[in-house]
Symmetry: C2
Subunit: 491 residues, 2 copies
């Protein structure tokens, strides 16, 4: 087999890029920093959306849609928010084009200049809280539990498919509550929805925790995140949930009459995951042959390939496979039968490995004779013959096994690559040579965090929830610390 | 009951606007021309999306995602397209903001000017065909059947919620084919998907036909549309499907090697429906009390309201309703039980009428005694008592009846308001005083069409498919005509 991908060892970044493109997930577009999500990649994203959407609805949220545009002045209303988001933005200044004076091509019509520039939403807190002002009068209007599926734009200078793109797709939940406690409860509830999704669907173990002040969402009182480890030992922040306090309610003057008839500012949360999850999915499990997809998110769970020489054999196989296919479909399994005569079985095997299809069934004349079928697992690359009788049960339990196996593999990898140290020298050595996560003591100051970042490129990923309290000394300053925090280099 | 809405008779446009806002479907946002789609409105749109999406997939299409931005130069590549779309567009000229020199607020950073301006997509033919260039080499890569769910922006000067907004949500299908015949077949297939959806789900009869040259999509060889009649007799174009010929393939140089090894340009179609369908749904069926929703698209199909005086009664009713609710849910019916004690039954009745919930069940102590339940239909406003035994079957068949009834009502209304005339005087009189659709002879020229439009505000909505061929004379010029075409004032 010709080598399709750069190996992970050779060049991890190149491997990732090759894989995203060759597996038909996405590609760069003609617009700088914006990607095209191809049908195969979009099918995975749709599966993610569908699972997350039903989890949001189960927890009482409704979807709605707010404008793409944010008036420039809105961004300035929340002091911290403007610092974080009003920098690299796409700015709409005009609303009309005209034929160029030369007659060829078109140009911006300077007479059609907007009075106030519009920003393409980098996130929607401002436009949404400006809207909530009219929706909330009394405690009876609360809680307001709304989610939006949308595209957003952040003008990133260095972009990478799925991981960091100028335009990306995401969901953003924006909730309003009568009390601080309820808003915090919501913030953590949605963080848990994300971590359960990562674990049970993406087969990725994640560490949930709070961000340091440095890494907090611009405008939040507290930011929570889930952090996953990629196969190069780097961390990938896979979802965030923010307790916004009353910051946006105050900025947009959103108040409600509480049960005792007193006017109060509303409490808020916001939370989101994006197409970045696609990057996490690819990097957590895949290998040098291609994607390894968790069965629960694979657009095709089982591919069946006929093995034959003569066309009469194919007819026989077609008949037999149709029986298998129907059994699998009836068991809720997504199956593709690829009997194209334009490609050889070997080519097909390699292609479905590249695409990460969890199970491959090969059916030839001898299998039919023996009433059996050859099953190949994508995760372990094992091949084994199984009886045709009860094949749907076999496939079902193999899919469950694969889902568990790739989770366990990722968990074991993380365990093996998580270190604990009390020495800054060792810390630097680990980050430099081994990579992975490091649990270490930190004095809680922004200065120390920045120094570590400058010297090692590692950042504090989070302060894990329910973290063990353990007195110690900051690895840099030696000042007292009450718990270890999680360091890593990150995407 | 206090009157919530302006009546249709009084002011149809005001009635529509009142209804969209009071029924919590949508509202105007702080951004000129852009709407906020509220949770109840969005829930209806989600139902539409889900049905349409599965119909697209059943017909072999996959979803994908292309950039929000289109480089300005792309718009100029197809000569007719640029005429139609490069006018009222949102133009991104800068990619950064900075703190204002005065220190307060933010301003556009003039040093961050884009080399080439980006247009927010008004439709995506250009960026998609520029991408397809790399995806298509051989006849084996065809057909390419792709759909995108996205937001688009057209800078309309006069906007109305759902009907015409600067930003709207839609789907756009973009397909590539090896032959002209196949591309035309696809164009008509998707038109039929739309008309079946309008008929069977929205309960709106539509007329399918081709557009005149005047009304053709900019860049299409032929535009097909479905046209629905609203209750004021005006037409609403509810979906379009375009045969694009080789226009975009030529503009973006997309060629393929055919089976005989010859290089040819690809043939194309594109087709779309948008949140405008929400406007059609509202205007086709609703009345002066509020929305009338077809059961198949209603977010809540059945609401149950308890009628009681004492709280012990409510406990009893709660128990009884839980049994009913479970039976209905088990039959696949969406039910809401509203036992809030903050609102009286009369208020709830009016509110669910406003929201268009197809069936309302009222349960009081006497109903429990009689083992019956009072059922009110939203479409006819009829109330009738039905036995509790088998209530799920009763409700199911009533929902089917309502779906049929509102379709038949709309069809009858259209029949009654469709006229045939051979006199331009009568034509003018009908348009002026009665409104509705008019079948009339036309000489086939752009000039006559424009004259009629200027003098009566009516346009040719379409030349119906499978139109009866019937020689006659143009109502304006008296020149020969081979068939009647469909005229109306339109949204």
């Amino acid at each position: 087999m010709a080598k399709i991908l750069t190996s992970r060892k050779e060049n991890y970044a190149q491997w990732y890029n090759d894989l995203v493109i060759k597996a038909d997930l996405a590609e760069n577009s003609a617009v700088r920093g914006c990607m095209v999500i191809k049908p195969y990649g979009y099918a995975i994203w749709e599966k993610m959306q569908s699972v997350l959407d039903s989890k949001f609805k189960e927890t009482g949220h409704s979807n709605a849609y707010f404008p793409l545009f944010i008036p420039k002045s809105f961004l300035s209303k929340e002091a911290a928010h403007v610092e974080g988001f009003a920098k690299e933005c796409a700015v709409v200044t005009h609303y009309r084009l005209k034929s160029s004076s030369g007659g060829k091509g078109i140009e911006v019509d300077e007479t059609a200049k907007l009075e106030e520039e519009l920003i393409i939403r980098p996130t929607s807190e401002t436009i949404i809280w400006n809207t909530y002002k009219n929706w909330i009068q009394s405690y009876r209007d609360l809680p307001l539990l709304i989610n939006q599926w949308a595209n957003v734009v952040r003008w990133e200078m260095r972009t990478r498919l799925f991981l960091r793109t100028a335009e990306f797709l995401w969901q953003e939940g924006h909730t309003a509550h009568a009390t601080k406690e309820e808003a915090i409860e919501e913030t953590i509830k949605m963080l848990n929805v994300y971590s359960e999704f990562a674990k049970n669907w993406m087969a990725i173990p994640v560490i949930s925790g709070t961000k340091t002040e440095n890494e907090r969402f611009a405008g939040a009182v507290e930011t929570y995140s889930i952090e996953a480890m990629m196969q190069d030992g780097k961390a990938l922040q896979s979802g965030t949930s923010h307790f916004l306090g009353q910051n946006f309610a105050k900025a947009f003057d959103v108040t409600f009459l509480n049960k005792t008839g007193k006017l109060e500012h509303v409490w808020a949360s916001s939370w989101g995951v994006s197409t970045r999850l696609m990057g996490a999915l690819v990097m957590a499990h895949s290998d040098d042959r291609g994607l390894v997809l968790p069965p629960k998110l694979a657009p095709i769970q089982v591919v069946i390939v006929p093995i034959y020489k003569k066309s009469e054999e194919l007819e026989n196989i077609n008949r037999e496979v149709e029986v298998i296919r129907q059994k699998l479909v009836a068991s809720g399994i997504t199956v593709k039968y690829d009997n194209r005569d334009t490609h050889k079985p070997g080519w097909k095997f390699a292609d479905y490995e590249l695409k990460g299809v969890p199970l491959r069934l090969a059916v030839g004349p001898r299998d039919i004779e023996n009433k059996s079928v050859e099953v190949a697992r994508r995760d372990t690359l094992e091949k084994k013959s199984y009886p045709l009788e009860g094949i749907e049960e076999t496939v079902k339990s193999l899919l469950t096994e694969i889902q568990e196996n790739i989770f366990n593999k990722a968990l074991e990898f993380r365990t093996q690559n998580t270190h604990t140290t009390d020495s800054y020298e060792e810390f630097k050595e680990i980050i430099e040579n081994k990579g992975g996560f490091i649990n270490a003591h930190w004095d809680g100051t922004r200065e120390t965090e920045e120094k570590i970042n400058q010297e090692t490129k590692a950042t504090i990923r989070c302060i894990p929830l329910n973290n063990k309290q353990e007195p110690g000394k900051c690895i840099v300053t030696g000042k007292p610390s009450s718990q270890r925090v999680l360091f890593a280099k990150a995407y």
